[in-house]
């Protein structure tokens, strides 16, 4: 059986990003179908499809939509196109190559919750992508798919883009809403959650979904929930865009059903290790924030689904696979990832702000060969103390890589500190003299 293609469908069609071409290939039929159903029927269809959020957490999309209170007059949809996790580059591909798919999906979501407007929040670097989307929105408007009385019915909805300006934290949904409101892009205290009155955009109930999540929706409307559910595994319906970077021959974005294994992706599709004679060593399956694993046979034969990756102690998350061969020192990886989170911590809570600062400092010391054996324990403790007590999940994201790199690759750390353990400590007097 050839693999089903949902998200990258139409990629072979020249100019599928243009409105006319998209329509010639069945575009806006999903929205048309949705408009002929009741909003609740649309929500149920998405619920039944088993579609889960692709932004990382995997929350069922239809369930999220059903949380929106029906009796509130003003509601919003925000599409999360902040895509800033290290190793993630799938949303950009969807928006560059098939932007109408996203606009159509967002309008279906808006109809389902009866939203007044859709805001697509893009990371600031997606400047060109945002301008193309603006053009697409205007093209769809001309045919009555955006604005007043969509498709000739009673439903009206606007669609806008909004560019961020370089802050990873704005991908966190409550920070995104603050940023969109013109406030500092820092997370909010929850509850109230975005779906609740008081918690969403301008205090109104709001759905926040990732680009890839939303891009599935037109297909589900056209083909039905049952067809969608046939693809993938029991708990992971549909296909996923896997972003592969690092030490493989053919890095890139690939669409596969959740039943595919790491081996199929990394060997059959990506061609194995990029340097002849080298072997795979480690894998970060979900960017910098997810637990690192040994890239061994057990992992290679695991299906890349939510439930299967949980069994091997990691997550599939946003499916940002960073592949490392045996030339890589995992202490260096821990350092790179920590620098990222130190830079991106918004500074609102102390454990995250201070924790990332200290982690970075001590790892640098270890890498420079100046660490002591107890430094490894020290960073492990700092990381463990950060987890679970911060306002948003970034604190956890920053702690995770440290905890798992040390747990799974202790030798990589110990090799740096062992030397120090062997050498006798330099007497303080001598050190002072050397500084003269």
């Amino acid at each position: 059986m050839t693999n089903p293609i949902i998200l990258l469908r139409g990629q072979e069609v020249p100019n599928i990003h243009q409105y006319d071409v998209y329509v010639q290939h069945g575009g806006y039929q999903g929205l048309k179908k949705a408009l002929g159903m009741s909003p609740d029927e649309v929500i149920n269809e998405v619920k039944n499809s088993g579609l889960r959020g692709r932004g990382g957490a995997g929350f069922p999309a239809g369930v999220k939509w059903s949380f929106i209170p029906k009796n509130e007059p003003v509601k919003y949809v925000t599409v999360n196109a902040d895509e800033s996790e290290t190793g993630t580059f799938k949303d950009r591909l969807i928006m560059e190559t098939n932007p109408h798919q996203l606009i159509e999906g967002a309008l279906i979501c808006a109809y389902a919750i009866q939203a007044k407007a859709v805001y697509i929040y893009l990371r600031g670097e997606f400047w060109d992508v945002a301008h193309q989307l603006d053009q697409c929105i205007e093209d769809a408007r001309k045919d009555g798919w955006v604005g007043k009385n969509i498709g000739g019915g009673n439903f009206s909805c606007e669609v806008y883009t909004h560019l961020g300006a370089g802050a990873y934290i704005c991908g966190e949904e409550s920070a995104l809403l603050n940023s969109l409101e013109g406030k500092l892009g820092q997370p909010r205290v929850r509850p109230p959650f975005p779906a609740q009155k008081g918690g969403g955009l301008y205090g109104e109930p709001t759905v926040v979904n990732n680009v890839e999540t939303i891009a599935n929706v037109p297909w589900i409307m056209v083909n039905g929930a049952a067809e969608y559910k046939k693809i993938g595994t029991e708990q992971s319906a549909g296909t996923k865009l896997y972003c592969v970077s690092g030490h493989v021959k053919k890095p890139g974005v690939y669409e596969l059903p959740f039943t595919a294994t790491f081996r199929e992706l990394l060997y059959d599709i990506c061609g194995g290790p990029s340097v002849e004679g080298r072997n795979f060593k480690a894998l970060l399956p979900s960017g910098g924030s997810g637990p690192i694993v040994h890239l061994n046979d057990q992992v290679l034969d695991t299906r890349m689904s939510y439930e299967d990756t949980a069994k091997i102690g990691t997550i599939i998350g946003s499916a940002s696979l960073i592949v490392m061969d045996d030339s890589v020192d995992i202490t260096w990886v821990a350092s790179k990832v920590t620098k990222f989170f130190k830079h991106e911590s918004c500074g609102k809570c102390t454990p995250c702000r201070e924790g990332t600062y200290w982690l970075d400092k001590v790892i640098d010391r270890i890498l420079a060969g100046e660490g002591r054996p107890e430094d490894v324990k020290l960073i492990e403790n700092v990381a463990k103390n950060m987890a679970g007590i911060t306002l948003c999940a970034l604190g956890e994201f920053a702690a995770n890589p440290i905890i798992h790199t040390i747990k799974n690759f202790p030798d990589d750390f110990n090799q740096h500190v062992a030397k120090k353990a062997e050498t006798k400590p330099v007497p303080a007097k001598k050190l002072a003299a050397a500084g003269d």
Partner: protein, 165 residues
């Protein structure tokens, strides 16, 4: 020039202000316009944006300071933001960044004397499969190496010389 009452921007400013139920939400797009006009988010730009969004200038300044893409000091004509985050670094981005600085004779974050190039390293730009890569004034340049960069730099220098002669 100002951005208020400037024909070049009026339409875009009004459009951004019309997108949101609250003017304050337009602060980010308008800061980009100010940056386009002044080359950085200058005090004049901050004041104008504050006026347009009904905000206090100090609030606008703190927003500008929170995000890395608003420049708080003037940059070179070409602002090169090199990604040297993990995925790119696995494909030689650290060396590329280092060599680029060396070739231009500047330090990290510095600008060349002719005012043409500023180089900074940044975190993941969502183009990890095309490393080494960088962002030049909001446009991506991908699958780079030093030979390509040197040729590009020469081209830009020649353009400047032509302009000046």
């Amino acid at each position: 020039m100002a951005i208020i009452n400037n024909d070049k921007y009026t339409q875009r400013i009004n459009w951004h202000l019309s997108k949101y139920p609250d003017k304050r939400s337009a602060v980010m797009p308008l800061l980009y316009i100010a940056q386009e006009e002044y080359g950085w988010v200058s005090p004049e730009g901050i004041n104008e944006v504050a006026q347009l969004c009904d905000m206090d200038p100090t609030q606008v300044k703190s927003i500008a300071g929170f995000y890395t893409m608003y420049s708080e000091k003037p940059k070179g004509k070409y602002w090169l933001q090199v990604c040297n985050d993990l995925a790119c670094a696995l494909r030689g981005a650290d060396e590329f960044h280092h060599d680029l600085l060396h070739h231009l004779g500047i330090e990290e974050g510095g600008t060349t004397d002719d005012g043409l190039f500023t180089v900074e390293h940044v975190m993941c730009l969502a183009a990890c499969d095309k490393a080494p890569m960088l962002q030049c004034n909001f446009h991506f340049m991908e699958n780079l190496d030093m030979a390509k960069m040197k040729a590009w730099i020469e081209e830009k220098r020649a353009e400047l010389e032509k302009e000046n002669s």
